[in-house]
């Protein structure tokens, strides 16, 4: 791939988020290549050195262009992370597809006081925002984590694992030894 085609790929990903290509496609220079679990396609996303990545902004006290938590988008993302990443000891991506009903169950506990209809609205609007930047991917009634989550470094992942433990379980299991308290 020549320099010009590489620049085109970078611009595409900058404007449209991580891009999916057939499995045999050559990688543009400086891109990370993520193979889909079915090995039929790959995702390309920038592989920035940490010294040129968004985390540098904090040192200069500049505000990054982050996803705003407008009306609870980040709670929906937290619920997705809890359901699509059942074991935080494993790699975050590709994770597992989760049913929207499970995500809704977690969301219910994260947004007490909201009725069913307003929670549904929050869920669908937030998933749309999250999918636009490929934080999640949606299929029919299921959701899975998007390629964007692989951008987190090891430091951020350890913070995320701590946070994971604070997010409620989608299906609280009944106490296995229930009723047999000595």
């Amino acid at each position: 791939m020549n320099e010009h085609d590489t620049a085109l790929w970078w611009a595409k990903i900058r404007s449209g988020g991580p891009q999916q290509a057939p499995a045999g496609s050559p990688s543009p220079a400086g891109m990370r290549r993520l193979v889909e679990p079915d090995a039929q396609s790959v995702w390309f996303l920038p592989n920035l050195p940490p010294s040129a990545a968004p985390e540098v902004l904090a040192e200069y006290r500049q505000e990054p262009a982050t996803l705003q938590d407008s009306a609870g988008t980040l709670r929906v993302f937290a619920a997705c992370l809890r359901c699509c990443w059942p074991d935080p000891g494993t790699d975050l991506w590709p994770g597992q597809p989760a049913d929207l009903t499970d995500v809704d169950q977690v969301l219910q506990q994260l947004t007490p006081g909201r009725d069913r209809a307003s929670r549904r609205k929050l869920l669908s609007a937030s998933l749309r925002r999250l999918e636009a930047s490929r934080w999640v991917l949606q299929t029919a009634d299921r959701v899975r984590l998007g390629p964007r989550v692989t951008g987190w470094g090891s430091l951020e992942l350890s913070t995320l694992r701590e946070l994971w433990r604070m997010i409620p379980d989608p299906q609280p299991k009944s106490d296995p030894g229930g009723g047999e308290v000595p």
Binding site: E3, S51, A52, E59, A65
Partner: protein, 221 residues
């Protein structure tokens, strides 16, 4: 996960000293990821000609260019040739409704304000909000789709939501991403706005005339 090796960065920055490389990479991060343009004091790479040259090379390799917002602040934007080629190939990350909402906000907040001389020429941010009623009632856009589009445009930084205050109605104004437009992109957008807002104006006729001339010249070639 390997995050440190990037052949593109390595090839452009290879001959720099560690300190220069650090400055160029930090400037790249600030220009590319900041919400707002960055003051030149923060961009140490601009103060040394070699570093500045490498910074511009790095941006060019990733489809971007340095954009000077005013005397003091900088940001980055799409390289005009890259943007033109992607557009010609049909690349369009925004949906029709999203583009319609963006165009409406640019007409109400920028074009009208500018024609009344409340905004300086070539200004693409504006303190005058476009109300939700302007977007929903005065246009033929379906309400649910238009609201969803506005929320996605806000998330992308193309619009900013202005909250209701006692003295003024809330609404939307153009977002900080508009400051990333290159001079050529701003000129193109200006023409598009004239064509959209005043298609019968002599200025619009002149723009169409010039574009036809350019197009036919290109066809002959």
């Amino acid at each position: 996960m390997i995050r440190n090796q990037n052949p593109l960065f390595d090839s452009v920055l290879a001959t720099l000293t560690d300190r220069q490389r650090e400055h160029v990479e930090a400037a790249y991060a600030l220009l590319e990821h900041s919400r707002e343009p960055v003051h030149r004091q923060e961009l140490h790479a601009l103060q040394d000609p070699t570093s500045r040259d490498r910074l511009e090379q790095l941006l060019r390799h990733t489809g971007r260019v340095l954009v000077q917002v005013d005397g003091l602040r900088f940001t980055s934007g799409y390289d005009d040739t890259v943007a033109a080629q992607l557009t010609a190939a049909g690349w369009q990350p925004l949906t029709t409704v999203e583009r319609a909402v963006l165009a409406l906000v640019l007409i109400y907040s920028v074009a009208i304000a500018r024609s009344e001389e409340r905004l300086a020429p070539d200004t693409w941010t504006s303190p005058y909000p476009t109300t939700e009623a302007d977007i929903l009632k005065a246009s033929k856009l379906p309400a649910v789709a238009a609201k969803a589009a506005a929320s996605k445009l806000v998330a992308a930084g193309l619009l900013t939501r202005v909250r209701d205050r006692a003295d003024a109605e809330g609404g939307y104004v153009p977002g900080p991403q508009l400051l990333r437009l290159t001079p050529a992109a701003r000129a193109r957008l200006q023409e598009q706005l004239i064509l959209a807002a005043a298609p019968n104006h002599p200025l619009a006729a002149a723009i169409r005339e010039r574009r036809n001339r350019t197009a036919s010249r290109e066809n002959i070639r």
